[in-house]
Symmetry: C2
Subunit: 244 residues, 2 copies
DNA sequence: CGATTTGTTGACTAATATCAAACTGTGTGG
DNA sequence: CCACACAGTTTGATATTAGTCAACAAATCG
């Protein structure tokens, strides 16, 4: 499987592209690179001239405050282009960092721009991807502003479950995901100690089992109930291909 | 001044459009409507067939959680198109509500789509607008997740100052802005009582004076310092037209 | 001008942070 | 293969921030 196929699979999960579009995307030249965990891929203030497709592994976007605190903005899985916005926002306003060993496929901005100007349907599809990215940020704002810590954590894993299912990375109620409790805390806006206590409670209650490299949604209905999770904001096309 | 001119002014503050693009935008047919404060303009789940340009007044986007709590996602000022994402995300994942009497100019999706497919530069400009929208959400995540309540409030008003300055709506260090303390609390993810106490402290310290319809940034350097505000994430073109 | 919304205050409570120490697992070099 | 180093996790005690409730005051509106 070519590296870029994961992108086409991903796009098909939430947008409409036809065979010709897919073929045009598949023709995009890519530059593949493997990185270890904890590698900064793009940094705040840089002006990348390529977008980064995550082919394998996990990454996150994060901002550092003036007080030196890091806030993780989003987690990314295979098929995501976490810095697609750099196509029109020249300078990065945050960092992109791997949180596991990862395979990246870089696609030059110039090639993407040529493609979107030639094929409006691809432009619409990629624009839509960036809009879904924003929709996920909106839901994350709700999470941080309006839900307590256990609900936030439940919500995060319910979302990841859906997003990973879209690219075929879940088995039953479980999926591989590499994250430390400290990283989780940075995403949820809580302390690492508090994150640990919530994880333990979920584990003992048989709701959710979060490990260093693996997540099991032991009781999805409960996770959904305590977190108020509703996948509508992901704007995915349903299995049945229902209209969006 | 035609209603749509505020949009052109706004676009020029953070994107590059030429005279022909501006003329093409100015030719977009609009349907103008005045609404009182606290009016729901578009609701969650709806599938609007037009975008809404805010010509005058203020609005916010908000989500209601399953617990009935409302989280305000963003505030909007004249020149914003708060639901531009509906162009490609058919169903709304949040509400758009006026927070003051407001004038709205609705632009049919079909007209916008025709324009963006005919003029790539306009497509790029509008796409860029939605990306800046997302960049603001990212910063708001940092605010809610990594800063304490006073910093959040300072940050909100520092941002509004910049955004309103871009469309010429500030006088000195002051600007008109209509918001109740309860709404502020819903945006900041704190209780109304706590919001009130912070406002009073800022007022007594001569840092920031937030009133029902008016905001004065009495001491901008201090606001900036306590909130860690850095306008880079707004991706505005500087006054001097410096490159972005 | 009365009615309603918005803002203000105090007392009390709950959620979460901080700190510090100890423990566990995993990989590395001797 | 062991021992050590290190990163990650777990625990308890204590501190702080912010929430809730309830009453009242002040603005605002029809």
């Amino acid at each position: 499987m070519a590296h870029i196929d994961i992108l086409i699979r991903r796009l098909r999960s939430d947008t409409h592209i036809d065979a010709e579009d897919a073929a045009a995307i598949a023709r995009l030249p890519v530059h593949v690179r493997d990185v270890p965990a904890q590698t900064s891929i793009v940094r705040t203030g840089e002006r990348p001239n390529a977008c980064c497709l995550l082919v394998k592994g996990f990454a996150c976007r994060a901002k550092i405050t003036d007080m030196g605190k890091r806030q993780i903005l989003s987690f990314h899985v295979a098929g995501d282009i976490p810095d697609l916005q750099s196509l029109f926002l020249r300078s990065m306003d945050h960092d992109l960092v791997s949180i596991s060993p990862a395979t990246l496929a870089f696609i030059a901005h110039s090639d993407v721009l040529k493609l979107v100007d030639e094929r409006p349907s691809v432009a619409h599809a990629l624009w839509r991807e960036t809009l879904i990215d924003a929709a996920i940020f909106r839901e994350w704002i709700v999470n941080l502003g309006a839900r307590d810590a256990p609900a936030r954590m439940g919500h995060l894993f319910a979302e990841l479950y859906h997003r990973m299912a879209a690219v075929g990375l879940v088995q039953g109620n479980e999926f591989e995901f590499s994250v430390t409790q400290a990283e989780l805390a940075e995403a949820l806006g809580i302390s690492a100690v508090h994150a640990n206590r919530i994880i333990q409670r979920f584990r003992s209650e048989g709701v959710l089992d979060v490990r260093r490299n693996h997540v099991a949604l032991l009781d999805f209905p409960t996770v959904q109930a305590i977190s108020g999770f509703d996948p509508a904001y992901l704007h995915q096309l349903t299995r049945r291909g229902a209209p969006e």
